[in-house]
């Protein structure tokens, strides 16, 4: 055990954790909107809209995240037309490519989580709203969405942890996130176990925090108060 290396690499890894956290928050933020949007499409009665949303979530849940990042980072740059548009400013940056890929990926999973949450809402609650003369829009925003969010908290907590682990793939497109820096230190010092303990420890700590925050929120917003 090389404790000196562990001690020295800790600040470097901590610095890289900031990149990981940035990637995570950005993709979760955009992903939540994507997920909500596609969950609403999934509940639409129009079969084409419905199938479109299902296709989106099926494709992004059925393929590895690595393929998605590679298509967006290496693949899209190949289209000549895209290079001439303003989108190229975003797409040439590995940072934004990673965020786009993570957003689309977590959006697909989130849409499934929210859809099942919407579907488990008892019809009686909506009927009660209707019989009180509340408009459909307000029923949706004030009754259905809050209940759906509460219902999907445990599953969404898992999704956050999965996404946190997913951000490690950003290191494959040259970004120096926690895993990227860990790999760099491993390949220069050839001390994989020490670096793994430190980097893994940081990841576990983040998992621990996320897990407990979700648990707290679940308790706070539980129905029996």
């Amino acid at each position: 055990m090389d404790f000196e290396l562990m001690f020295n690499s800790f600040p470097k890894l901590l610095e890289a954790t900031v990149v990981t956290l940035k990637l995570l928050t950005a993709s979760l933020f955009f992903g939540l909107f994507f997920g909500l949007f596609f969950a609403i499409l999934r509940l639409n009665k129009n079969i084409f809209i419905n199938k479109f949303a299902y296709g989106y979530s099926y494709i992004f849940r059925g393929t590895p995240l690595l393929v998605q990042i590679f298509i967006i980072y290496f693949g899209l740059g190949q289209i000549e037309y895209l290079r001439t548009t303003f989108l190229w400013v975003i797409l040439k940056e590995p940072y934004w490519c990673a965020i786009i890929a993570f957003t689309l990926n977590t959006g697909a999973y989130t849409s499934e989580i929210l859809r099942s949450a919407f579907q488990t809402i008892k019809p009686g609650i909506i009927e009660a709203g209707k019989s009180l003369g509340i408009s459909n829009k307000i029923i949706f925003y004030k009754i259905q969405i809050p209940i759906a969010i509460r219902q999907s908290l445990p599953a969404y907590g898992n999704e956050i942890i999965l996404m946190m682990k997913g951000t490690s793939l950003a290191s494959t497109v040259t970004l120096m996130d926690l895993t990227g820096v860990a790999k760099y230190i491993i390949s220069t010092t050839f001390k994989p176990i020490e670096v793994f303990i430190v980097a893994g420890g940081i990841y576990l700590f983040m998992t621990f925090i996320i897990h407990n925050v979700i648990k707290y929120l679940e308790k706070k917003y539980s129905f029996q108060q």
């Binding site: 494709i59 059925g62 590895p64 995240l65 298509i71 693949g75 951000t167 793939l169 994989p192 793994f196």
Partner: protein, 230 residues
Amino acid sequence: MELLAFGKTGWGDELFYATLMTIAVSITAMLIGFFFALIFTPLKLSKYKTLNLISNCYTTVIRGVPELLVIYLFFFGGSGAIMYVASIIGYYEYIEINAFITGSMAIGIISGAYSTEVFRGAIQSIDKGQFEAAKVLGISKFGQFYKIILPQMLRLAIPNLSNVWQITLKDTSLISVTGLVEIMRQSYIAAGSTRDPLFFYSFAAILYLLLTYVSMKLINKLEVKYSRGY
């Protein structure tokens, strides 16, 4: 389309073998995972706190740390660890483990952590009365497990195991960083030499979709088989 031709002109046959490699790694990893689950599930359900702790450490660490980091640990640390063990026996030559074994070990340990949780959940949801009835009838511990607990447990475990299989299948794409030629690595090579990454990575995505689709269909059949009588 000529990019996908078989033979020397296209990448069809290379990608076909790469797909077989992905399937082989996934199945090997899944079996290694079952092996780990077989060790750690009893530990998790054991009465002794230390054994519980060991098993909990395993599942928590593996499920809380990115797969890529575990793969790097095995890739860079695997042959070192083996050589260390060999040096104790008195063998000092350089040992290189091939990418297939390193990769399936890494993915296997990850899928083992998920399988352990699945098996634990399945066993715990079997009615206590079943265990007691078996004991009263004087059935041996071995018989209890194989003839009474296992068949009931499988029915409950299959839907969740199919999730584990999907995760494992998708995780194998990460072994491409170690140089094992599976779908992802082959697409990377093809994309590099033809300068057509969009086509090859999209094709890789289609191959993965196909694999997940077909395996879902097969697993659904299994599910029907094990739910007979319910």
